[in-house]
Symmetry: C2
Subunit: 428 residues, 2 copies
């Protein structure tokens, strides 16, 4: 079978997952978790291969750390599977229910999208998490991980297939892709893939968006902001700025620009600069910031639109909350932005006017995450306004279907001069 | 200002609509309704111009009928506005609310998408309906109607602008486009338009989907089916078939193919054929149908995939419910499909397995409509699985935003060996 034919097979076979009961899907998840123990020696030696290759190719330490899939990681993903088993069924939720007339009942229920195409970074634990979300949500999954983790991903996918074979649902709903040519084929598989979720560099995500007419969920950049209002608690603002920049500088929900109200700039900026520099952050400052803090890198054209993904941060002085909002809506990527203020009214104004997926008051932008949000886990964060916005958990992998249950009703009864009226009585 | 600059203006100005209270938006709707009376002579003479041009250009009677905007149509759209005023506010709905930790509360609330770009047919009443949905949902609207109705559309748009000027919100949220070149500009206005809803021919909708990277909501064809199961009530099945084909043959929710279970074909097909022919329907039959009914047009390759949009219907005999489902999933356009059966279990199987936006049991496919569904009105019907599926009412014009309200929380507190646990307590 060609890879294209295999993708079509996934579409066909995934119908068995879509029609599986919650018990069947949770049982598959438990089998997958147990399979990781059964197949541990195979998985561990595959991971050793990947690590040896990473060593030989002198990969960066951060990348090597992500590649590791040891007993600790196995336990972590197993706990993740248990968390997902514990979640309520995302399928068959009655989202609306309405009587149109006596004996004519309309409902809108959640159903799986079909098949998800997912590209993710070289982190084998992500494979298990993504597969678990797919199983719980009843979606087939076609996935491609970072090539550095190929051996581990193969061993994990083999283990998952082995765990599901012989069940009523089987293992036909999963397909691991192994190279870029196969990803190119995936981008053209309009009839067999319902949603593509690319994770990776801006360039890669943009490439995917331009080369497919399948809907794409994700974000190409995370230019996030923290705005410190004139009435902010300085200690709180400092702690949030440090967390939002340094907790994980390369994460998409870390801030790239700190906006400070002019009234408090002379007092606050030297204080926050000291705290950030203490954590190794390189500061880029506008002229007002430079006058307050020695040796900042002067901000240049384009800095406001740059995602550093590193320990670098712009500091920009603004005259008002309104100016901060305008800066964020112009230069941000509509991902996650936060304000520090003691005035709930200003917080509400900021939340109303900032046009981003996540808008926070007095909390770090780093909270923008499916696990922290209580979604169980996430497949990604969407900056699209269509379908799912922000961290995408199980419900982001669902669509809905309108079901109408009648007893022979025809539309002509409800039209014309003697039209029978609809009752339109809400039932949920 | 160029048309592109005007589109940017709509994006900017629509923020005032997005932040308007429910009372303000309902007040605008009432002003628009009253304005149609105030400006009636202008609107009526503009409509007379369009009708005279239609006469001169010898347009088809059906098209001319749609162009008419007389007192009766004005009253109908005014009642439509009142219906929309009576609907609950789609904005600011709390869709999820969860305590992440004490003093750290997450909510997901509905917010307008921003600006909708809409192309619709030569029906001036549609303009008023679309504008009303935009106002209620807090979205700016850029719209282009069929050129045959240009004078009436201009007069209506002028009246709407006049009604809203001088209010706090103003009239900057609406822009009427007048030609195809302006539509082309709209398709490229990625930063200023959030969703495009094209109504029109398949060719036009496909053109739009191929020529924009703005999300598009709609359907390019409506190939709908009615399946008559072996246990169906014949009288009910006949009545539904006649309604689903002849109530409005050119509507997207009318059926193109009638599937009949082989067991009842000899008894049912002659009966339904007689009823359909009595309404002037041309029947295309497969070989089994042809053996039962004289003079059907023999089905040819491609008929299963054809949207007739006319009084023509395929009749196809199938061996089982399963075969009917497979036919529908292969040849349908995932729009609306129905079954007639006396067995609720078969109805459920059909609803579970047919992969369409609307799946009905014992009711006509013609019920697939925002008004009949109780959505107040519709801007269109979506066969996309992403965002909104089926008839799209107010909620289909909304997106959501995650709001997090904290008291200084940082993520590092919730990580590492001494991580504070999240409470993740559902509040809604």
């Amino acid at each position: 079978m060609t890879i294209r034919e295999q993708m079509h097979q996934v579409k066909e076979q995934s119908k068995r997952l879509a029609s599986a009961s919650l018990d069947e899907r949770d049982d598959l998840l438990a089998r997958i978790r147990e399979g990781l123990v059964r197949d541990w020696s195979e998985i561990a030696s595959a991971n050793a291969e990947d690590l040896a290759r990473a060593e030989a190719e002198a990969l960066k330490p951060a990348l090597k750390a992500r590649l590791v899939f040891d007993e600790e990681k196995r336990k972590a993903v197993s706990m993740g599977i248990d968390d997902i088993i514990a979640l309520p069924d995302p399928m068959g939720k009655v989202l609306e229910k309405r009587e149109l007339d006596v004996g004519l009942v309309l409902s809108r229920v959640s159903v799986p999208l079909g098949v998800i195409g997912m590209v993710f970074e070289a982190r084998p634990d992500a494979l298990v998490q993504i597969v678990s979300l797919a199983v719980k949500s009843g979606n087939g999954i076609i996935l491609k991980g970072g090539s550095e983790a190929l051996s581990t991903n193969r061993a994990l996918a083999r283990s998952i297939v082995r765990s599901c074979q012989g069940t009523r649902v089987g293992a036909g709903w999963i397909l691991l892709l192994e190279n870029r040519e196969e990803v190119s084929v995936m981008l053209t598989a309009r009839n067999d893939i319902d949603l593509i979720i690319p994770r990776g560099s801006n360039a890669f995500v943009s490439y995917v968006m331009e080369h497919t007419d399948i809907p794409v969920l994700g974000h190409s950049s995370g230019i996030c902001h923290l705005y410190v209002e004139s009435d902010a608690d300085f200690k709180m603002a400092c702690a949030i700025a440090v967390d939002a920049k340094t907790n994980a500088p390369s994460a998409c929900n870390s801030i790239e620009t700190l906006l400070v109200n002019r009234q408090v700039a002379p007092a606050f900026i030297p204080m926050v600069a000291k705290a950030l520099r203490g954590k190794g952050v390189v500061l880029h400052g506008d002229a007002e910031c430079a006058a307050l803090v020695p040796d900042v890198v002067p901000c240049r054209n384009g800095d406001w639109d740059t995602e550093y993904l590193a320990s670098e941060l712009n500091i920009h002085v603004v005259g008002s909350l309104q100016e901060a909002v305008e800066h964020i809506n112009r230069h941000g990527s509509h991902h996650t932005d936060a304000i520090v203020t003691n005035d709930p009214e200003k917080g509400r104004m900021f939340q109303q006017q900032v046009d981003s997926a996540d808008v926070f008051v007095n909390a770090s932008t780093r909270f923008a995450d499916g696990y922290r949000f209580g979604l169980g886990a996430e497949v990604g964060i969407s900056t699209s306004k269509i379908h799912a916005r922000g961290p995408v958990g199980l419900m982001g992998l669902m669509t809905s279907k309108w079901l109408l249950d009648g007893s022979g009703q025809v539309v002509s009864t409800y039209m014309g001069p003697h039209a029978r009226p609809f009752t339109h009585k809400e039932l949920v």
